[in-house]
């Protein structure tokens, strides 16, 4: 048995191929890893459960079950239409007698039991009456009283009612109202959360990967054949793609579930938001991953990682919490300003886009500044990484990493 002999083939390894090989290893090992598969499935399960829950709650909570008995059965139709005008649905049923009705209310089968003549309705509820039901019943009772008085006064109640119904206040709006505001808020929150979650998860993964190579010393073998920038870029890109795949799966599943569950009736806006989230993830992830990779290169053990990652992840956290204020006030000035400045922009801007409150120039400015920041961090981070990654032992001071040749 002899050792294999040299088929001295070409040993050329273009810089791009070096990066691709490193990135490919990251993708193939991480996409197959148990944590990735389980994490993705778990997230999908959470989304499905949430959408299902909302769908169920939406169906049961918006409907009021009312039992009618005796003369009160006559108000079934007017009750339905006036509650519907207040944004709720009423399901009416006739019960044989008040006793049965009361029992059903006590058992929770009915939300309310209505008895009595149309002019003097009485309602039995368990603890409290739903506002819409009370308003509708009050209205019906008043109408009865009013109609009786009008008839006494010799007026035709039908005519008077028509005239009354026609009298309206004239409303002029200063801004075009957006009937889809609530849905847009859902999209905005989803964007905010997905970006925060993905950038944090996969940015941390980059940092852990850098320290893994450093603590296992494999980096010394790697750097005898590829340059530090190739290793760093390959790692960032490879893990970035893994994050993109997960985002696509989660976003896609969420979208389909939300549309299927009637939570979103704006498929175009929703798809647009998903595309924007994917794009912003790319620039945002690149920015944070470069900073995190450089920071991680300063330490040699996973245990020390927290101390260098925390300041960077705090920036991400701040962006996330500031973003919440958008749900209260989409035109929040602070968020408007921060959404144009890296490193906050990539997390905040997509929410503002989803809300439809971001002018084109602001989006362009935010993209431009973020791309510039990515370029700057690639240079600076690459330098820190190259100078620090082979120094094992004590934590490398940032100043030393920047100063070394």
């Amino acid at each position: 048995m002899t050792a294999p002999t040299a088929p001295s083939g070409s040993r050329a390894l273009s810089p791009a191929r070096g990066v691709v090989l490193v990135a490919r290893r990251e993708m193939s090992t991480r996409l197959r890893s148990r944590s990735f598969v389980i994490g993705t499935l778990l997230t999908i399960a959470v989304i499905a459960a949430y959408v299902g829950f909302m769908y169920f709650m939406g169906n049961s909570a918006s409907r009021i079950n009312v039992g009618l008995t005796g003369q009160a059965t006559a108000v079934a139709e007017p009750l339905k239409s006036s509650v519907a005008a207040l944004g709720k649905e009423v399901e009416t049923r006739t019960v044989p007698d008040p006793e049965t009705g009361e029992r059903l209310v006590r058992e929770g089968e009915l939300d309310a039991l209505v008895v009595g003549a149309p002019g003097a309705l009485k309602v039995v509820v368990q603890k409290e009456i739903k506002d819409q039901l009370r308003a509708a019943l009050d209205g019906l009772t008043r109408q009865q009283v009013l109609d009786a008085r009008l008839a006494e006064a010799g007026l035709n109640p039908v005519e008077v009612n028509r005239e009354v119904a026609g009298a309206r206040v004239a409303v002029s709006t200063l801004e075009v109202p957006d009937p889809q505001q609530d849905q847009r808020k859902v999209l905005a929150f989803a964007s905010l959360f997905l970006l925060f979650f993905s950038v944090q998860t996969f940015g941390t993964m980059v940092a852990q990967g850098v320290v893994e190579e450093k603590s296992s010393r494999v980096v010394e073998i790697l750097l005898s054949t590829v340059r530090p920038w190739q290793l760093m870029l390959g790692k960032v890109l490879g893990i970035g793609v893994v994050g993109l795949v997960q985002l696509l799966i989660i976003g896609g599943v969420g979208l389909v579930a939300a549309i299927g569950g009637d939570m979103l009736t704006l498929p175009d806006a929703a798809v647009g938001t998903l595309v924007s989230v994917l794009g912003w993830y790319l620039v945002g992830f690149l920015l944070y991953a470069m900073i995190l990779a450089a920071s991680a290169a300063l330490v040699s053990r996973q245990e020390e990682l927290g101390s260098v990652l925390t300041p960077v992840l705090m920036l991400l956290m701040v962006s996330f919490f500031v973003g919440f204020t958008l749900l209260q006030n989409p035109n929040n000035k602070l968020v408007e300003v921060l959404s144009m400045i890296p490193p906050f922009g990539p997390v905040l801007m997509p929410s503002r886009i989803a809300l439809g409150v971001a002018p084109g120039w602001q989006i362009a400015l935010s993209v431009g500044l973020t791309v510039l920041a990515v370029a700057a961090m690639a240079w600076l981070g690459g330098r820190i990484y190259a100078n620090a990654v082979l120094r094992t032992g004590a934590r490398v001071k940032l100043r030393d990493a920047l100063r070394a040749k």
């Binding site: 048995m1 050792a3 294999p4 040299a6 040993r11 296992s216 010394e220 094992t392």
Partner: protein, 305 residues
């Protein structure tokens, strides 16, 4: 197949860390088919020299040349390297890891997988092929580490302490593989503290002290400068008779045996006759110092100087 001309030259490399001189004008060369042993105390500069040769560390001055031309990032890829601090991805499977490293050194992916399998079989790792490196025994991890240095079919091998931590069987496998690569025309440099092993395997040896090469050459050449010694075993008589011979002294005594140092121009036959006169001679032979002794001499000489 003609053996390609291969020559690794380390030419006057210096490196200092602040006030500490790590290397001062370190020079040596290793040719095709030659095995070069690099010995020295801890901190003498062996690892620093190897890391500079691999480009992992930059020298302050001096040059590393491969086949006469200054070594570049591209030509470094032809070196097979085993760092002192062993390093592999703990959670990557053996075969995948080796194929990846081969590709990273410029092999095509099919060739890389083939080479990984060849070395896995050659080093007796077939059953561990699809196991994560972290789950292997220390000895098997060392074998994978050697495979990692060889899998891209390097034209020169630079191995930092390849034998440390190996069990006797693995030492034999390692020695055999290195010898084979060497016979194929691959220059091999390795450092070791196991001097008997270095003496047995290496064609040439370099002794390093405080960042400088203090002696280099074949073991025979290193010996040539030393004084002649004989080992004698004389029954019962003690060694009082030695004092009567001029230019001869006892260097070492163990029971009835002694090592004598013979000064310039002393005839060993005269010594033998004196020994026979003193008692019954059981053994009388020239004593050749081992590499360990040579090493100790060189290092202490320097320290005294």
């Amino acid at each position: 197949m003609s053996v390609p001309e291969a020559l690794l030259e380390i030419d006057r490399i210096s490196k200092r860390y602040g006030d500490v001189v790590a290397l001062r004008d370190m020079s040596f060369e290793v040719r095709a088919g030659e095995m070069f042993g690099f010995v020295g105390s801890n901190g003498a500069g062996k690892t620093t020299t190897m890391r500079i040769a691999l480009g992992v560390l930059a020298a302050d001055s001096g040059e590393v040349r491969w086949n006469g031309a200054p070594i570049t990032f591209e030509t470094r890829r032809r070196i097979g390297y085993m760092p002192e601090e062993r390093g592999l991805y703990p959670k990557m499977k053996v075969a995948e890891q080796l194929a990846y490293l081969a590709e990273l050194h410029g092999s095509g992916s099919a060739a890389a997988r083939r080479a990984a399998d060849v070395w896995i079989e050659r080093l007796g790792l077939t059953e561990k092929r699809d196991e994560e490196v972290q789950k292997l025994s220390l000895g098997n991890q060392q074998r994978v580490q050697l495979a990692a240095a060889l899998v891209h079919d390097p034209e020169v091998l630079v191995l930092d302490e390849p034998f440390s931590g190996l069990d006797p069987v693995a030492v034999d496998v390692m020695s055999q593989v290195l010898r084979e690569k060497c016979d194929q025309g691959v220059p091999v440099v390795f450092s070791s503290h196991q001097l008997d092993l270095v003496e047995r395997l290496c064609d040439r040896v370099g002794i390093v002290r405080s960042g400088q090469m203090v002696a280099s050459g074949s073991v025979a050449e290193l010996r040539s400068g030393t004084t002649e010694r004989v080992m004698v075993d004389v029954d019962g008589a003690g060694y009082g008779w030695v004092d009567e011979l001029t230019g001869v002294r006892v260097v070492e005594r163990q029971g009835s045996r002694a090592v004598l140092e013979l000064g310039d121009g002393v005839d060993d036959q005269v010594v033998l006759r004196a020994a026979s006169a003193a008692g019954r001679v059981r053994e009388f032979a020239p004593h050749r110092p081992s590499l360990s002794e040579l090493f100790r001499n060189v290092v202490t000489e320097e320290a005294a100087a």
